[in-house]
Amino acid sequence: MEEQDKLHDENQDEHHNEEKKQSRRKFLRDVGIIAGGAVAGGAAMYAGIHYEDSKPPSGERLKLLAQDGKLLEVDAHHVAEVHLPEGELLMKEGREGLPGHKWVMVVDLAKCRNARKCIDACQSAHHLRPEQYHINTLQMKESKKTAPYNMPKPCQHCDNPPCVSVCPVDATFKRGDGPVLIDNERCIGCRFCIAACPYSARVFQWFEPPMAEEDKDLTYNVELNVPQKKGTITKCLFSADRLREGKLPYCVSACPNGVYWFGDEMEDAVTNGTTKETVSFSELLKQNAGYQLMPELGTKPRVYYLPPKNRLFPFEDGIEEEHNG
């Protein structure tokens, strides 16, 4: 190294006055600096990555719950927060659901007095028109000899949903935790799902949705279906956004008459939306002769009904009898 420097100096002395050569040397030196810088920078980056890998484990182990419900353990220094854009996150979470749960609803027909509070709460949460029902209360009369009764009818969130089978673009989908959701950013508006649904549970946005103007800056939440979009389907979501917060669905909480029980089939527990009482789901069905709507169609609904015993509520207006149920 020393010798080289010496040679270098000698050369410099020798061509001291030759500007041409000097300028070439200057050029070479500049190139050298740039190249050296680049190499050094690259090396530093490499070293950095290498250091990150070779860094001794902090010793602190963290237990994390993966999205599929598996419990994982990782070293603390590897943990970093992931920032997804809000829309993407909502969509990702919304499509994946809440692992480890199977949501169910039980509707006690003996209790329903057609207060329609469930409908109001639902329509205001989902920004719907008065004639657009995610949940509707129907006046049922099965035969001339039986008394009529009120039947709240949300989407049945079938485990074998005909609507999902026929959807051509995966806009409507069945989640692992039970609900059948609709992604109105994917829906092409073919309405095959309306044709396929035996429970008439689906609603179409025939015109611009009523709150389109107010909602236009909101990020789309697939679990709430807000903002609603013209030319797409909207439907009952089992209030998936509320479930994520650990709350009961909008309709369940709004009922003044204790009609709704909602809970988790995997815990075999359902909670009454009005009394907040929690009971065994299977016992409730067994003791009250719980049933499903049109189980013969093989749709496997997740909504159960308790029969309308003590039908004491006369209807003021006539009821429509012409239906196939």
Partner: protein, 437 residues
């Protein structure tokens, strides 16, 4: 046969030019089309709600029309492939007419389905996010395939005619140029004929399953749901047999007008109308058989849902349309066509128009009433949700699709001879030889 070999080419190329009458006709069609497209622009702006469809009857005129278009397009397969392959010679002057009709209806059917979409701009999602489980995906696939094969079945036998035409036609220059390009240097060598014959044979065999598939899959759009009135195992053959009835009606109407306007009486003769009438009776009887199965079997048992559905279409508020469709689309033609006088061109035209209208109404009866009677009652909704009432706008949009079909048929039949020239020459040659020996 009344035509000689020398006449054939001049007779059949004579109508190939646009005269004043046709330009006016096309002009009227274009203006009408733009009026109807204005209706579609309203639908795009306001939403599908400008049509009468609502949450319960959510498939109305558009889907009925789609089924009708797919049905009418099946005639190409019946005429060229089924009758052609079993060696029916009399259909030769009619095959091109049938193919033009098939192509026009099949191609426009794709547009009909777009008019029914709430979000037509998301059409590419079918390819980007398509789910193979959905019958819609199957329908898109087979209809596209059918359009391509039909176009080839129209084009391949046209090549020898194009080569002939570029010599016979003198003006307009642009048409001669088109003929020259499309005739792909056809010289009529044995090798070239071999290629045409072989590829035609392959296509004619291929189109049979594809045609059966397009209408069977279309019927599955309904039969794959649990709804009363659609939940039927015979919907596939029921739709296919009905399709032949509708398709023959379209061909008879076209035959009549081409024969009159293009002065083709020597080529499309009373014999052809007579034969088409017999074919019509045959397919109508098959259709009648499926109708008996479709209505009598559930009608005998009268399960709860079926009882309501059948009551509605037999004597309820859809009964008028139902009986019109059944009587004029099937039963009356079967009876009348037993008489020789009714198998003449003009009575055939009248019957064909009636069948055409009745066939459209039949599709409507298949699509709409089922949705007016869902399993659960329709309550607490505005009264227009209960009964489907088509609006002026959706009628105009539906009309637009018919105008498009007419335009395609008009243009194709003016650009090219509607009767295969070389096939007629072959016939004439055979006849002349036969006469000498």
């Amino acid at each position: 046969m009344q035509y000689s070999y020398d006449q054939v080419a001049s007779d059949l190329f004579r109508p190939v030019r646009f005269n004043k009458g046709h330009i006016i006709w096309l002009g009227i069609l274009t203006i009408a089309l733009f009026l109807c497209l204005y209706a579609y622009s309203i639908q795009l702006r306001e939403g599908l709600g400008v049509a009468g469809i609502r949450d319960y009857v959510s498939w109305g005129m558009y889907i009925s029309n789609f089924v009708f278009f797919v049905a009418s397009s099946l005639i190409g397969m019946l005429m060229s492939a089924v009758l052609g392959l079993i060696g029916m010679k009399w259909i030769r002057p009619l095959t091109r007419i049938a193919e033009i009709i098939a192509l026009a209806f099949a191609a426009v059917a794709g547009l009909v389905i777009i008019s029914d979409m709430g979000r037509p701009e998301r059409l590419p999602f079918l390819f980007l996010h398509g789910r193979i489980q959905s019958p819609i995906l199957w329908d898109v696939t087979v209809v596209t395939t059918y359009v391509i094969i039909s176009a080839l079945l129209l084009y391949l036998p046209l090549i020898p005619d194009l080569a002939m035409g570029k010599k016979i036609l003198t003006k307009p220059k642009i048409l001669v140029k088109v003929y020259e390009i499309l005739s792909v240097k056809w010289r009529g060598t044995k090798a070239q004929w071999d290629i045409i014959h072989r590829s035609m044979r392959i296509l004619l065999i291929l189109i049979i399953p594809v045609a059966l598939a397009i209408h069977t899959v279309t019927s599955w759009l309904f039969a794959s749901t649990p709804r009363v009135g659609w939940n039927s195992t015979i919907f596939g053959p029921y739709f296919v047999s009905g399709a032949f009835v509708a398709g023959i009606a379209s061909v008879v109407i076209a035959m009549y007008f081409f024969r009159k306007n293009y002065k083709l009486e020597k080529y499309i003769t009373e014999l052809h109308f007579n034969n088409m009438a017999k074919l019509l009776v045959l397919v109508s009887l098959v259709y009648l058989y499926f109708n008996i199965n479709e209505f009598l079997v559930p009608g005998y048992k009268l399960e709860k849902g079926d009882a309501i559905h059948l009551h509605d279409i037999f004597v309820g508020h859809n009964a008028g349309l139902f009986w019109f469709a059944q009587l004029f689309g099937m039963i009356i033609p079967i009876v009348l066509l037993l008489f020789r006088q009714m198998r003449k061109p003009f009575p055939m035209l009248i019957l064909a128009i009636l069948i055409f209208v009745a066939s459209w109404i039949k599709r409507y009866i298949i699509v709409v009433p089922t949705q007016e009677h869902p399993f659960l009652p329709i309550q607490h909704v505005p009264s227009n949700f209960l009964i489907y009432q088509p609006t002026l706008i959706e009628t105009a949009i539906t009309l637009a699709t018919f105008i498009l079909v007419l335009m395609i048929i008009t243009v194709l039949s003016k650009l090219f001879p509607v009767i295969p020239v070389w096939e007629m020459q072959e016939e004439a040659e055979l006849n002349e030889k036969g006469g000498q020996s």
